[in-house]
């Protein structure tokens, strides 16, 4: 029961992350900006809108939003927000999360090709390009964490622990990967609809109404999963015993950790320009190198301890 509740809390707060980033960015640019709840308003609007489907599209296009939402929710199921040893930990580990995200991405990329527009194809090609290059870096991060904490289980590095150097480096690498995977500046831009620069937005260009709402929710949750995992690694949580007061404390601690990351993301987004697509391999190559450094740190750490 508690596990379901925490997941629901997790999902409900997911769109807030994007809202906060947009708000902070606007304030930094001396603008008033939209409400931090704008993503929720957008979703509500989309859910009540009519839907248009391309006549070229097949059932893949219709099914993809469900696959995307179900795979993202399934991945979120593995994230231990407050309680670490849920039954989901018996179903899969960090790798399962990575592969489940790949399932949603696979269908979204197919759906983008399905309508026969060149935007979709372009988005699909770029998305698969970026995600496949992010994969080895992500694997290195998981490898470093698993060497450090002895397991690839997501719960293994979620509890209270000292913060080793390898985890810090791994978290930095994971941060770069998260930027690429959640289509943020400097890899992609969630706000633009300029055809030459967009990746994720190009894939979902033909979607509208409820289907678009589903895909948007899914990408908010995916973003939340990545940033929450980073928070979990660099700000480990102490677990007080139950009770209503404690629950409020947990929620506050959870929100404040996310908030710190949100500020960092917003600062990066206002201060860096989007890079060319063919610079992305360098960016992700840097993440891979950080991953290797994290592994080396983990190995050296183990050597020093013995």
């Amino acid at each position: 029961m508690m596990i379901m509740l925490q997941i629901i809390l997790f999902i409900i707060t997911a769109p807030l992350l994007s809202g906060l980033v947009a708000k902070i960015k606007n304030n930094l640019r001396m603008r008033k900006g939209q409400s931090i709840f704008q993503p929720y308003f957008n979703l509500a609007k989309l859910l009540s809108k009519d839907e248009v489907v391309s006549e070229t599209a097949s059932w893949i296009f219709r099914v993809a939003p469900f696959v995307v939402i179900s795979s993202t929710l399934a991945a979120a199921m593995f994230i231990p927000v407050f309680i670490f040893a849920g039954p989901a930990q018996q179903i899969g580990d960090f790798f399962a999360v990575v592969f489940i995200f790949a399932l949603g991405r696979f269908f979204l990329a197919l759906a983008a090709l399905d309508t026969g527009s060149s935007f979709g194809g372009m988005g699909s090609s770029r998305e698969m390009f970026i995600s496949s290059l992010a994969e080895p870096a992500l694997c290195m991060v998981i490898f470093a964490l698993s060497l450090q904490f002895g397991s690839t289980n997501v719960a293994a590095f979620s509890g209270m622990h000292a913060i080793p150097v390898s985890s810090l480096v791994a978290a930095l690498a994971l941060f770069l990967i998260a930027i690429a995977e959640t289509s943020r500046i400097p890899v992609d831009n969630q706000e633009t609809h300029l055809e030459l620069t967009m990746t994720h937005e190009a894939m979902v260009l033909e979607y509208s109404g409820r289907s678009l709402a589903f895909i948007e929710i899914a990408s908010y949750i995916k973003q939340m999963v990545f940033f929450f995992l980073i928070a979990q690694i660099i700000f480990p949580i102490a677990l007080p015993a139950g009770g209503p007061a404690q629950i409020i404390l947990w929620v506050l601690w959870y929100l404040s950790r996310i908030f710190i990351l949100v500020v960092i993301v917003a600062l990066i987004e206002v201060s860096v320009a989007k890079m060319r697509l063919f610079r992305v391999p360098d960016f992700l190559g840097f993440a891979l190198v950080l991953g290797v450094i994290a592994v080396v740190c983990a190995i050296l750490g183990a050597v020093c301890r013995t």
Partner: protein, 609 residues
């Protein structure tokens, strides 16, 4: 050589490979009934079926004989029969060329295997597997090392390890599709059988560097295979290159087993071999399925060029669904079978990293990262393969007039598609069976090793709380999907409007506006340009100086291995042959002299024994 009796040996390893052979053979046989109809005369169909049976029988015997000589005989029968199947389409000059490359490469491989067997026989004085196995205990290390290298080259040629993969993308696509399915799905696995049987079972791993060498080769094979597959626009060649990649993944598992066996880590060796064998079986299933689907597409449209296809999901809905399942499985998407075996292989790396020290940890980590890169690229490759072939609008008249495959073809595909799901969901019971196979191949008692928690959950690291339960995962995915659908229905506002794709306000989009396979792979071509060495050919056809009538543009990638290894080697062979020709001037007196000298030499030589 008194004991050349051809007895059969049915140990768990042989039974496993027999199971793999028949798992792909039966659907392929059912599929072939309709597939062969049409273009071929009835006599040729009978001939093809006889060849198919001989092919499967020879493979079955290769994996079950217990004698090196018998092994070689059936190995050769298998190669020759498959050669005839590759050149089955005799009217096509490409088939003949493909067959030639295949037969030359496969015999180079066989030569190395024969050399290895001769060294083994020298020590064991017998060709019997068990006799050699016992002789190997006292064999000097240098001899073992050389036998290992000979076997690796010999079997590596058949398996398609880079840079010996050169024949695979020629031969596999040229054969009829159900034969391609068996060749890619099963025949190249007999080489993996050879490596497991002779290196792990008979020779026994005594050097630590064997595993390292195989792992490095496997990583290179994975990456080269999938990068070439991404560039390919012929659907069957794409699948053939992807077989090269998957052989790499299988060899990662087998290589890890050798790596750990050389370090006396028996639990890890058994576990890694399970991962390798599991992927071997899965690859047989989904690659068989994909080749059968590609064959249906070829039969329905008459082309294998995916740039000319498109929109087939509406014309051939069932074939499309089966291809989608195969593509998902090969991209390692949960909860299908490819996901399970790739997960197991990654876990084998991670689990192994706890038990080795220092630099080896980093080495295993980097191998695992390269495996992850491979699986990412494979997903991109199969998004391309499925998306361009089956989705959007038809790009040519070939695709417009396509019809769904005949019943027996659909049945063949259905069986394999079902197996991709079953082998994904029933992972735990299968692992239990594979543990026995793996244990017996390594000569380790795997009876008290536990790899599963219960019948639904894999637990390679029970102590570390690492689990995977594909049935639960599938259940979760379906539940969330249904929940999403219910939510969708709650906010129902009537049927969606069907309208044309956004065309930026100009005019109706047609298939020329669609993204092509070449365009899809362009980012990859640029990112891997250091290896692919892409180049363009442009040509302006002018009517006059001022008016360009048409413009052609082609983009190609350089086949590095062909250009820098095989072409120079071939040139050298021809050069040597040319200089040898001087020995044959046409004078009968000279030839009689040759015979006389040979006779003299033989007499002298024989006298020394």
């Amino acid at each position: 050589m008194g004991n050349s009796n051809f007895t059969l040996l049915f140990d768990p390893l042989s039974l496993f490979f027999l199971a793999v052979i028949f798992l792909v053979f039966l659907p392929a046989l059912i599929y072939s009934f309709s597939y062969l109809k049409g273009e071929n005369s009835s006599a040729k169909i009978v001939f093809a079926q006889v060849l198919l049976l001989a092919f499967v029988l020879s493979m079955a015997l290769v994996v079950s004989v217990s004698n090196c000589l018998a092994f070689l005989i059936f190995w050769e029968v298998m190669s020759l029969v498959s050669y005839f199947l590759v050149v089955f389409d005799t009217k096509n000059s490409r088939s003949i060329q493909a067959g030639l490359i295949y037969i030359v490469m496969t015999h180079i491989g066989t030569a190395f295997i024969i050399a290895a067997f001769m060294v083994l026989h020298n020590y064991a004085r017998s060709f019997d597997f068990l006799a050699i196995k016992s002789a190997c205990r006292i064999m000097p290390q240098a001899a073992k090392d050389s036998v290992f290298l000979l076997l690796l080259i010999g079997f590596g040629t058949k398996a398609g390890i880079v840079p010996l993969h050169i024949w695979l993308p020629y031969a596999h696509p040229q054969a009829p599709s159900h034969i391609s399915a068996i060749m890619s799905g099963v025949m190249i696995k007999t080489a993996v059988y050879g490596i497991i049987r002779f290196v792990l079972f008979i020779l026994g791993v005594t050097s630590a560097w064997w595993g390292v060498l195989i792992l490095i080769l496997a990583v290179i094979t994975c990456l080269v295979g999938i990068i070439y597959a991404l560039m390919e626009r012929d659907i069957k060649r794409l699948l053939a290159y992807s077989s090269v990649e998957n052989i790499g993944i299988i060899l990662l598992g087998v290589g890890l087993a050798i790596f750990f066996a050389g370090r006396n880590l028996s639990y890890l060796a058994v576990f890694s071999l399970i991962a390798g064998l599991y992927h071997l079986m899965n690859h047989a299933i989904f690659k068989g399925l994909l080749f059968l689907c590609a064959g249906s597409v070829y039969k329905a449209t008459g082309t294998r060029d995916i740039e000319k296809l498109g929109g087939l999901i509406k014309k051939m809905p069932q074939t499309a669904a089966y291809f989608l399942l195969g593509a998902m499985a090969i991209s390692a998407l949960p909860p299908l079978n490819g996901f399970v075996s790739e997960w197991l292989t990654l876990q084998a790396f991670f689990l192994g990293a706890f038990s080795v020290i220092g630099g080896s940890k980093l080495f295993l980590g980097i191998c695992a990262a390269m495996l992850a890169l491979t699986s990412g690229l494979a997903a991109a490759c199969f998004v391309k393969a499925f998306g361009i072939t089956f989705l959007a609008q038809p790009r040519s008249h070939y695709a417009e007039n396509a019809k769904e495959a005949a019943l027996s073809m659909r049945v063949g595909m259905f069986i394999l598609a079902l197996l991709t799901v079953i082998f994904g969901l029933a992972a735990a019971p299968i692992i239990k069976l594979l543990a026995r196979v793996s244990g017996s191949a390594l000569g380790i008692d795997a009876g008290n090793m536990r790899f599963t928690l219960n019948n639904f959950t894999l637990a390679p690291q029970t102590a570390n709380n690492v689990y995977l339960s594909t049935p639960a995962l599938a259940l979760g995915l379906i539940t969330f999907g249904i929940a999403g659908f219910v939510l969708y229905k709650i906010f129902d506002r009537g049927n969606p409007v069907i309208y044309k794709t956004w065309d930026c306000g100009y005019y109706k989009l047609d298939s020329r506006n669609e993204y092509t396979a070449t365009a899809f792979s362009k980012p990859f071509r640029i990112a891997f340009s250091f290896f692919l060495l892409p180049y363009r050919k442009t040509q302006k056809i002018r009517e006059s100086f001022y008016h360009v009538k048409s413009f052609t543009y082609e983009t190609h990638t350089t086949k590095v291995f062909k250009k820098y290894i095989y072409d120079p080697a071939l040139a050298m062979v021809f050069k040597a042959a040319k200089s040898m020709r001087r020995m044959q001037p046409g004078s009968i007196h000279l030839y009689l002299g040759y015979i006389f000298i040979t006779l003299l030499l033989l007499l002298v030589f024989m006298g020394r024994f």
